[in-house]
Symmetry: C2
DNA sequence: CAGTTTGCGCAAAATTCGCGCATGAATTGG
DNA sequence: CCAATTCATGCGCGAATTTTGCGCAAACTG
C-alpha cells in the first residue's frame, strides 16, 4: 500500500472532499455505489481515488477492529516525563515505544508531559506491567502518569475536511 | 459495511490473528497476496475474513488520510473538567462533542479530567476558537486544558493481538 | 479564435471476489 | 481400534468490480 510517486495536488473540489469523507467511513464501498452517491460514474470515482492516493492524501486502507471483541478491555493514556533529554537515552526510549505492541500511538507534547502514549491492554495487570516493568525502569523516564479510559463517547472519526 | 448477524467466535487460531494484523496494515491487499503471505489459499482467506467480519471482530474498513496533506497542521489533546454532572447539562455537552467535526475522538477518563478530546485543526486560531467559543462558554464546563502535539512518533498502529 | 488541457461517460479488458464441490484430516462414539 | 461424522482446505467457475482506452464537450491559454 504505497503510492510512490507523489504528485502535488492542484486543488480539491467539492467532490474530492466528499469522496474522502465517504472513504473514511467505508473504504470498501464500490466505485459504483460511491458514484451514485456523489453523482459520478464509477470510472471517474476510480480515477479520482487513484489521484488522491498518488497525491499522498490517502495513506492507505486499514481494517478497524473491535478492541473489546479481541479481549482488549483496558484502554489508557499514559503521560511520560523525561528525566533527561540526552540523545542516546531518548533514542532507546523511543525504540521501546515503537517496539511495544500495547502502545499503538505516541506523541511528543507541549506542556509538562513530554510524551503521551495511547495504550491497549488485556487487563489492568498488563497496564501495570507496562508501566512498572518497561517504562519506569528506563533511565530516561522520570515520571509516569496513567489515565484509564472509562467510556469512548466518540470513536476515531473522520478528519474534519 | 454492516455485518449484521453476530456469531460468537469459538477460537482464533494463529492464522486468524496474523490475518487481522495484516488487514490492519493494508485492508486492500488481495486475498491472493494475503494467502501467499500466510501460507493459505485465497479462498480460505476470504472465508476467514468473512467469519471475522460476522463475528464482529472487524468493524469495518476505512481510509487513512494524511492530516498534514489536508492542511490540518494542528493536532491537540484537550482535557475538560466539568463544573456539574447534571444530566441535562452533560447531555448538551456530549451532543456538542459529537457534532463538532474537529473533535475526532472523545473519552471519559479516570483522574481529575472528566473528558479527553482529540482535536484536529487547520491552525492555532481554529483550536483557540474551539476552546474559547465552544467549550469554555458551555455551562457544564469548568476548566479546559489543551496540549498540542509537537510530533507523532508512532502513528495509530495495529492493536496488540 | 485556435490549440491545449481537463474532466466526463461508455464499453471492453483485466482483475478480483464469492460460492459450490470434492478431498483429506481430526474428532467423536461404539 | 475402527467407523462415521464433522470440519477445514484447495480448486475452479461465474459474477462482480476495477481498470483502461477512447471519443466528446467544456474550460482554460496565448
Amino acid at each position: 500500500m504505497h503510492f510512490l510517486q507523489y504528485h502535488r495536488m492542484t486543488k480539491l473540489d467539492d467532490i474530492d472532499l466528499r469522496l474522502l469523507t465517504a472513504l473514511q467511513e467505508d473504504a470498501h464501498a464500490t466505485a459504483d455505489a460511491l458514484g451514485t452517491a456523489l453523482g459520478l460514474s464509477a470510472s471517474q470515482i476510480g480515477r479520482r481515488r487513484q489521484r488522491l492516493e498518488v497525491a499522498g492524501l490517502i495513506e492507505g486502507y486499514v481494517a478497524k477492529l473491535d478492541p473489546a471483541a479481541l479481549g482488549l478491555s483496558v484502554q489508557a493514556f499514559v503521560t511520560v516525563q523525561m528525566a533527561t533529554h540526552a540523545p542516546d537515552k531518548v533514542k532507546t526510549f523511543t525504540r521501546i515505544v515503537k517496539l511495544r505492541p500495547e502502545i499503538t500511538s505516541a506523541w511528543t507534547m507541549t506542556g509538562d508531559a513530554d510524551y503521551l502514549l495511547r495504550v491497549y491492554c488485556m487487563d489492568l495487570a498488563g497496564l501495570n506491567e507496562l508501566i512498572h516493568q518497561v517504562l519506569l525502569p528506563h533511565p530516561a523516564v522520570a515520571r509516569v502518569q496513567s489515565q484509564i479510559v472509562m467510556d469512548q463517547m466518540k470513536t476515531d472519526g473522520p478528519l474534519p475536511i
